[in-house]
C-alpha cells in the first residue's frame, strides 16, 4: 500500500520551547526571519486565577486535497509519490497564489530563492533516509508523533485509533495529514 505520512501533535505535551522551530531552521537552511514551523501561544484565556494557555505547532498540514496544489499555475506545488505536498523550486515563479490559498499560513517566499517554501516533513534530508523529521526528533515535550498512517502498526495509526484527534479548519475540506489532539488544553 502507498504510504501516507502523518503527524499527530499532542498539544498538552507541547511546551512551546521552540526546539522544533530552531531544529527546522538548521535542518532546512531556512533564511533568518522566516520559519517553516512555529509554535505560537494560544491564549491565555480565562480570568485570574483560572487561566489557560497552550501552544499550537503550526506548519504545512500536508493536505490530501491541497488548495495550494490546485491553484499553482506552474505545477510547482505537487503531490509526490508518497502523497506529500512538495514544491519544485525550479518551476516556482513566486506568484504567491498558493500562499493566498493556504488556510494555514504555512507558506512563505524564501528570501534567498524567491520561491515558495514550506515544511516538507524533511522529505529529502531525513524521510528518504528512514529518519523522522527534525522537529519530531528534537521535541522536548515528546508532543510529536510521526509515521505512516496506512500502516496500522505505526505509532500515528495506533494513536489515532485510540484518541480523538482533529484537523485544523476542517470546513475547507483540505483533508490534512497533520492531526491535533486538543485533549487537556482547551
Amino acid at each position: 500500500m502507498a504510504k501516507h505520512y502523518a503527524m499527530v501533535i499532542q498539544l498538552k505535551k507541547c511546551l512551546g520551547c521552540q526546539a522544533c522551530t530552531v531544529a527546522c531552521k538548521f535542518e532546512n537552511k531556512v533564511p533568518d526571519g522566516q520559519y517553516r514551523t512555529k509554535s505560537p501561544a494560544i491564549g491565555p484565556s480565562g480570568t485570574y486565577p483560572n487561566v489557560k494557555v497552550f501552544f499550537e505547532k503550526q506548519a504545512c498540514q500536508m493536505c490530501q486535497d491541497a488548495p495550494c496544489v490546485k491553484v499553482c499555475p506552474t505545477t510547482a506545488s505537487h503531490y509526490n509519490k508518497d502523497g506529500l505536498v512538495l514544491i519544485d523550486s525550479h518551476k516556482c515563479v513566486g506568484c504567491k497564489y498558493c500562499m493566498t490559498a493556504c488556510p494555514y499560513d504555512a507558506r512563505f517566499i524564501n528570501k534567498n530563492t524567491g520561491t515558495a517554501d514550506k515544511c516538507t516533513f524533511c522529505y529529502d534530508t531525513r524521510l528518504t533516509k528512514g529518519e523522522k523529521p527534525a522537529c519530531v526528533t528534537t521535541c522536548v515535550g515528546g508532543a510529536l508523533l510521526f509515521g505512516d498512517a496506512n500502516d496500522p502498526q505505526s505509532e500515528v495509526a495506533r494513536y489515532m485509533a485510540t484518541h480523538r484527534t482533529e484537523v485544523r479548519k476542517a470546513q475547507f475540506g483540505t483533508r490534512p495529514s497533520v492531526h491535533y489532539d486538543y485533549e487537556g488544553v482547551k
Binding site: 530552531v22 485570574y48 527534525a134 515528546g142
Partner: protein, 748 residues
C-alpha cells in the same frame, strides 16, 4: 624597489596568511575552480560532544559537513536525552558562525567603558595581565585578586591562577542562582548530590521552579513523561508560567512559600499521614520540626499565602496518598528571600515525611563512582576518574571577603567553592574587609548578574585590572581592561564530565571543528599559558587537554574511543539503582552526614543561625500601589548569555512587564503601553503586557534583557534589564535575593 621589497617581506613573510603548497598548484590550476568546488565530494561526520548553550552540558551529536557544523541534534545514545536538544542547543551553529564574536585578545586603549580597544597577540595579553596582577599582588597581597565564573569545566584551569596567587576569593555564580538549594541539601543530607526521579513520580508539587521555561533537557523530559503518564502536578508560583499551564496553578503570595510547606507538614502530622517508619529509621530531629509546625495550621497558612485552607489540606492529602512516589520539587532558581535555604530544607524535610528517598519517583543520592564504591554489590560498576595531581597551592593569608566558612555565622554554611559573589562589588566600593583591586571574570557577566547594574559599573571603575574571557563582547567585557576570546564549545575539547544519576555516566566535550576565528582559544589553554607566563607552570602539569583526559581515564580502563563512538560512557548492564526500591528498610549507608542520618535538625545550621529546624519568618509584602517584581527564565535564552545569538535573538529579542489585568485597569495601562518601572533608586522603561496570568500584587519580566554593551548589537538596549532594578542584596548565607524588590509602575 625598496617599497616592493618591504611589501613582499611584510606580507609573504611571517605576516602573510597564505602559503604555497608544493606540487598542487600546477596540476590543478587549469581547472575551473567553481566547477571543481561543485564536483568535490562532501565529507560528512558526526561528532559527539556536549552542549554549552547553557550550563547543563547536554550530550549532543554535531553534524559536520566539509568542516562546517550544519546541524546539532541531541545525542541519541543517551536514553535520558533520546536525541533531544532544546532550542538553544539547536542554535549552536548560529553562535559559532556569528561575525560578532570576539576574535582576538584586546587591550583597552580609551577610558574604561569607552569601548576603545586594540587587538594584541596572546603573548602581549598574557604579559599585560601578568604584570598588572604582579603589581596588585605586591601592593595589596594576593587576596586582592577576585575571580568569578559561571560553573564549568574551565573552572579547574581558571581558578588555578587565583589559587596560585594565593587568593581565597574565588567565586562561582551560584549565589545568583540556586545556592540555597545546595545549602539546604548539604545541611540535611551531607551532600548536594541529591537528584529527583521525576519520570516515575505520581504527584509533583513544584515551588517556583519552572522546568518548561528553564529547560534542563533530561529533567524537563522526565517531568513531561510523568505528566503524560497521568502524574498530577501542582505549581506554586505568583506567575502563570508554562509549567503552571500544564498543572494546577496556585498563585502563591510572594515570599510565603515556606508557610505553605510548613502547613503541609502540619496536616501530615495532624492527620498522621506521614511515613513514621521512615522518619524513625533514617532521620534525626523530627520532634523539633513537629513542634515548629504545630501551630502552622492550614488556616494560618491560607492567611499568609493567599491559597485557601482547603487547597492546602487537599494537596497534603494527595501528596500523602501517592507517597512514597510523590515529591515536592526542591527548587532550582535564584532565591526568594534572605533565608531561602530554610525553605529548601523544609521542602526536603516534608519530602522525607513522605518517605520518598531512594525509591522510584522520589529523591535519590547521585550514584557516581565515588558513591557506588561504598556499595559492595555495585562496586564493579564504579570507575573512578583519575585525579590530575598538582602541587599544593600556597595558603591564602587572609579569609574570604564574604566571610564564607566563618564558624558561628550563617556564612559558615556557604559552600567554599561558591561564595557570595554579590559581595565583590560591595567590597570593591568600600574596601572592606580589605581592598579588591583585580578581578578576573570567565564566562560570567556580573554587570547583568550581580544585582544593581549601576553599582557593579561603579565598582569596576575602581579596579586596577579587570579581565574578562568570553565569546561575545558582554556587558562586563565591554568595561574590561583586557578581553580574552574563548572559542565556543564546538571548537574545543574539555575534560571528562561526570553526569551520573541513577547510574554513573561520563560525558566528553569533543572538538567538532577547528576554531572559526583562529585566535580564539579554549579556557584550558588560555589559563595554562597565562599561568606559565606568570611562573605557575607547575600547577599545569599536563601537556594539553588530551593529556589531561588520558590522566583522567587511565585508572578507569575506559577507552577514549568510547567517547568518539558514543559520546558518553555508562556501565554496561547496570540498571537504575535505588537503595530502597527492593527493601524499604535497607540501610542508607551512603548518607554523607556525620550522624549517618537525614538531619531534620541540623547541628551545623543551629550553630550558624540558631534555627536547627526551619523557622517561619514573615517578609514584607508590597504596599498600596506597589508590586513585587519577580523574574524568571525563558525557554529560548540562557540567563544573560544568549540574547545576542542571531537565531535566538530572532525568536525573542525583548521582554515585557507582565501586569495583572485588574491592576492594570486601575492604572489605565494597556498592553503595549510604555511604562516607567520605578524601584525607588532606579527607573527603567518597559512595555506593558496586561495578562490574567499573574497575581494582582506582582509584576514579572523575563531575565537577561536590556543589555548595556553597545557591541552586543542585537541585544543592546532591548527590553527591561531587571538587574538594574534589583538591589545587590545578600541573604543570610550570601545568596542574592531577587524576589524582594517592590516597584511602582506608571505610564510613560
Amino acid at each position: 624597489m625598496q617599497r616592493r621589497q618591504f611589501l613582499k617581506g611584510a606580507l609573504y613573510g611571517t605576516g602573510g596568511t597564505l602559503v604555497a603548497l608544493s606540487g598542487l598548484g600546477a596540476a590543478t590550476a587549469a581547472l575551473n575552480p567553481r566547477r571543481a568546488a561543485a564536483a568535490a565530494p562532501v565529507s560528512r561526520k558526526t561528532v559527539y560532544s556536549s552542549c554549552e548553550m547553557c550550563r547543563n552540558q547536554c550530550p549532543i551529536a554535531v553534524k559536520v559537513e566539509n568542516g562546517k557544523v550544519v546541524k546539532i541534534d541531541g545525542n541519541p545514545n543517551d536514553s535520558a536525552f533520546g536525541g533531544v536538544i532544546c532550542a538553544r542547543g539547536n542554535s549552536g551553529p548560529s553562535l559559532l558562525y556569528d561575525p560578532e564574536r570576539i576574535k582576538k585578545p584586546m587591550i583597552r586603549t580609551g577610558e574604561r567603558g569607552s569601548g576603545k580597544f586594540k587587538e594584541v597577540s596572546w603573548d602581549e595579553a598574557y604579559t599585560y595581565i601578568a604584570q598588572k596582577l604582579k603589581a596588585v599582588q605586591e601592593q595589596y597581597g594576593g587576596e586582592a585578586v577576585a575571580q568569578t565564573s559561571h560553573i564549568g569545566p574551565y573552572d579547574v584551569f581558571f581558578q588555578t591562577i587565583g589559587k596560585a596567587i594565593g587568593s581565597p576569593n574565588l567565586f562561582s555564580h551560584e549565589a545568583t542562582c540556586p545556592m540555597a538549594r545546595i545549602i539546604g541539601l548539604n545541611t540535611t543530607f551531607g551532600t548536594a548530590a541529591i537528584n529527583a526521579d521525576y519520570a516515575n513520580t505520581k504527584y509533583l508539587l513544584v515551588v517556583g521552579r519552572n522546568f518548561f521555561e528553564g529547560i534542563h533537557v533530561a529533567q524537563t523530559r522526565a517531568v513531561a513523561k510523568a505528566l503524560s503518564q497521568g502524574t498530577k502536578m501542582v505549581v506554586l508560583d505568583p506567575r502563570f508560567s508554562v509549567l503552571a499551564a500544564k498543572g494546577e496553578w496556585l498563585p502563591v503570595k510572594g515570599a510565603t512559600d515556606l508557610a505553605f510547606i510548613m502547613a503541609l507538614a502540619n496536616v501530615l502530622i495532624d492527620e498522621k499521614l506521614y511515613d513514621e517508619e521512615f522518619i524513625k529509621q533514617y532521620t534525626v530531629g523530627f520532634d523539633k520540626w513537629a513542634a515548629q509546625v504545630q501551630d502552622k495550621t492550614p488556616a494560618w497558612a491560607a492567611e499568609e499565602t493567599g491559597i485557601s485552607q482547603d487547597t492546602i489540606i487537599r494537596v497534603a492529602r494527595e501528596l500523602a496518598q501517592a507517597k512514597p512516589h510523590s515529591l515536592i520539587e526542591y527548587g532550582w532558581r535564584t532565591t526568594f528571600t534572605a533565608d531561602d535555604f530554610q525553605l529548601r530544607r523544609a521542602i526536603m524535610i516534608v519530602n522525607m515525611m513522605l518517605g520518598n528517598f531512594e525509591v522510584p519517583g522520589g529523591y535519590y543520592q547521585v550514584k557516581d563512582a565515588g558513591t557506588l564504591k561504598k556499595v559492595p554489590a555495585m562496586a564493579a560498576y564504579a570507575k573512578k576518574l583519575g585525579p590530575v595531581k598538582v602541587p599544593p597551592f600556597p595558603k591564602p593569608k587572609k579569609g574570604r571577603i564574604d566571610g564564607t566558612g566563618e564558624k558561628g555565622t550563617p556564612r559558615q554554611l556557604t559552600p567554599i567553592a561558591d561564595g557570595a559573589v554579590g559581595q565583590i562589588t560591595e567590597t570593591i566600593l568600600t574596601g572592606k574587609p580589605y581592598p579588591i583591586k583585580a578581578w578576573l571574570v570567565h564566562r560570567f557577566n556580573p554587570v547583568m548578574s550581580i544585582g544593581d547594574t549601576e553599582k557593579t559599573l561603579a565598582a569596576i571603575k575602581k579596579l586596577d585590572l579587570l579581565v574578562t574571557c568570553d565569546v561575545y563582547m558582554s556587558d562586563t567585557a565591554y568595561n574590561s581592561d583586557v578581553v580574552l576570546p574563548e572559542c565556543t564549545y564546538l571548537e574545543r575539547t574539555e575534560q571528562v564530565f561526570d553526569m551520573s544519576g541513577l547510574t554513573p555516566k561520563y560525558v566528553l566535550r569533543q572538538q567538532a571543528v577547528d576554531p572559526v576565528y583562529a585566535d580564539t582559544k579554549p579556557a584550558w589553554q588560555i589559563y595554562k599559558e597565562l599561568g606559565e607566563k606568570m611562573g605557575y607552570g607547575q600547577y599545569f602539569p599536563y601537556k594539553d587537554i588530551d593529556d589531561y583526559v588520558e590522566r583522567q581515564l587511565a585508572p578507569t580502563g575506559i577507552s577514549r574511543k568510547v567517547f568518539a563512538e558514543k559520546g558518553l560512557w555508562t556501565p554496561a548492564g547496570m540498571k537504575p539503582f535505588y537503595v530502597r526500591s527492593g527493601d524499604a528498610k535497607a540501610p542508607l549507608t551512603l548518607l554523607a552526614t556525620k550522624s549517618k542520618k537525614i538531619e531534620i535538625f541540623s547541628d551545623a545550621v543551629q550553630e550558624a543561625t540558631g534555627a536547627g529546624v526551619p523557622v517561619y519568618v514573615p517578609y514584607p509584602q508590597p504596599g498600596e500601589g506597589e508590586f513585587r517584581l519577580i523574574e524568571g527564565k525563558v525557554a529560548v535564552h540562557t540567563n544573560v548569555g544568549t540574547h545576542n545569538v542571531p537565531v535566538l535573538h530572532e525568536l525573542m529579542s525583548e521582554n515585557t512587564l507582565w501586569i495583572n489585568a485588574q491592576s492594570a485597569a486601575k492604572l489605565g495601562i494597556k498592553t503595549g503601553d510604555t511604562l516607567i518601572i520605578s524601584a525607588g533608586k532606579y527607573e527603567h522603561k518597559g512595555t506593558a503586557n496586561v495578562t490574567e496570568g499573574i497575581r494582582p500584587d506582582t509584576v514579572f519580566c523575563y531575565h537577561g534583557f536590556g543589555q548595556i554593551s553597545p557591541q552586543l548589537t542585537r541585544a543592546f538596549g532591548k527590553g527591561i534589564n531587571d538587574n538594574k532594578l534589583i538591589p545587590d542584596q545578600l541573604g543570610s548565607v550570601g545568596n542574592s535575593i531577587t524576589s524582594m524588590t517592590f516597584v511602582k509602575v506608571r505610564k510613560a
